[in-house]
Amino acid sequence: MQGPSHLVLSWCFAESAGLRSTRNRAIVAWAGLAPDGDVLAYVGALLYYRLDQGLAFENVWQVVHHRYTHGLGFVLLTGMAAYALAAPAGGRPSRAGVALLAMLASAIHNFCDLVGGGPTWPIYPLWPLSAAPWSASWSWTIGEWPNIVILMVCLAGTLLYARVAGRSPMECFGARADRWLVGVVRQEQPARQRQGGWLRWAIWGALILATIAILAPLGFRLPI
């Protein structure tokens, strides 16, 4: 499953579990994306191999991806980090609750990658206790339609939820980013935007380009 899908689904999980604090919802959402943090190894490898994608893929990405971050060890690590970062206002039980939700979000990420990560990318459920891989031959690859549909629904759902509820997974990028998205989808016009309507068009253009940038490498083509 794509990174944005993991982030949005994890935020939705935190929201539907009833978390009231913006900070805690963002912590759970990032915890749900955290297992894909091993992409940093690929970025490092690209720099190391002077942008040779083949070498970086073969020597690092193929070996590292899913191995250390898609298992029980990383789930527990996520919980500890979430406990340390959770908003202290709610006290110890509340912080423990956030840590539990963060661990569950990380576990859900593992399951989503088992079902929608492709058969060639197993997860390692009990790592570091066991290096036994776990994958399914019927698992959807990253560019297959179920994953594309989930991504589209996540993006459209984000916009719809921002309009109806006045908050969205953009909270993960800060309160200002969330207020901006809510303002855009509700067509609210702050005083400074009335004079510069071009800014809104530039932002929508950037959003469309970002969507294309996510979908194009996956081989997605419009059916026309």
Binding site: F13, A17, L104, F111, L114, P125, S130, A132
Partner: protein, 67 residues
């Protein structure tokens, strides 16, 4: 939202999360490490659908709540 629907949705959410943990961390070691089995495929995809549906219902309720 109808309160009974909310209770069912909450139950379905936590039930599906428990199933997700079991299918991810316990199934390959306690049941079978052959994920090609139709039973596992059926259980995995239906669990994912229940999880999405329960979340959808609860989000619909939360969206209309006053924080």
């Amino acid at each position: 939202m109808h309160s009974r629907l909310g209770i069912y949705a909450r139950g379905a959410l936590w039930g599906s999360v428990a199933a997700i943990c079991a299918l991810t961390f316990a199934w390959p070691f306690l049941v079978s490490d052959h994920a090609e089995q139709p039973a596992f495929k059926l259980a995995a995809i239906s669990t994912l659908l229940v999880f999405f549906l329960a979340m959808l219902v609860l989000l619909a309720a939360r969206a209309t709540e006053k924080d």
